[in-house]
Symmetry: C2
Subunit: 146 residues, 2 copies
């Protein structure tokens, strides 16, 4: 019995370690795939996400909100928006009511770029999972993080 529960634990442990490695490896795999597809458009997947957030917002939103929607650390949000500003894909305006805040919005050039981007690799891979499986995956991942 002691021996048996040890055995069960060992299996659980190895399945857990495997899941952790698998998780990191898959996440990395997806990021690489995304970035490879975005390379011709000269933006990273993180920058692409910001553009999508701003298109979705339909109006200027504070950095604070961009950061929150990206689940990113602030310094990184600043750096990413810096790059998008340089490329004139987004615009930054200091808020007049609260001069600490900065509002960000997507430019027509940014919208045009977004409309040109179509992921080809991903939809192919996506077909390997059904919607139900995706829902399941999401619930398992949520569980890991509480």
């Amino acid at each position: 019995m002691g021996e048996f529960s040890k055995e069960v634990n060992a299996t659980f442990d190895s399945e857990f370690v495997k899941a952790m490695l698998n998780l990191k490896y898959t996440a990395n795999y997806i990021t690489t795939l995304n970035n490879k597809e975005l390379e011709p458009h000269q933006i990273s997947i993180a920058q692409y996400n910001i553009l999508r957030i701003l298109r979705g917002a339909k109006k200027p939103i504070p950095m604070k909100l961009v950061k929150k929607r990206m689940i990113e650390k602030s310094p990184n949000t600043t750096r990413l928006t810096d790059k998008l500003c340089d490329k004139e894909l987004i615009e930054r305006v200091r808020c007049e009511e609260d001069r600490r805040a900065v509002y960000v919005s997507i430019t027509p050039k940014g919208l045009k770029l977004l409309s040109k981007i179509v992921f080809k690799e991903m939809p192919t891979r996506m077909q390997y999972l059904t919607k139900d499986e995706l829902v399941l995956l999401n619930s398992l991942l949520d569980k890991i993080r509480d």
Copy 2:
């Protein structure tokens, strides 16, 4: 019908995008958690993995194999072993039969460190998933990568 399938697709798409973000976020979350726990031991989770691989091997193994077992890019394996060598946790020996190859092994100091490391945070979180759920998670992740 056209409208309905569009609806289904939209849901699938959003579930997919959610899964991708979830995956990256969870992977990052785990790495951060791991590194925080390893901080008192002055090693990163990547370095910890190398030590475990070397302990498991029970004898000196070529860099090539370490790299393969870590699913890491070569330059990174070199850098990580550099750091472990500096701390005298592992040893590197140039192979005499094939002088291109370098063999790596764990030192007594490395083994001692490994034996001291006990993850506390992880087992708690682990309890949120059953072994069956972990198996399921692994199979879903495998599917994404083919």
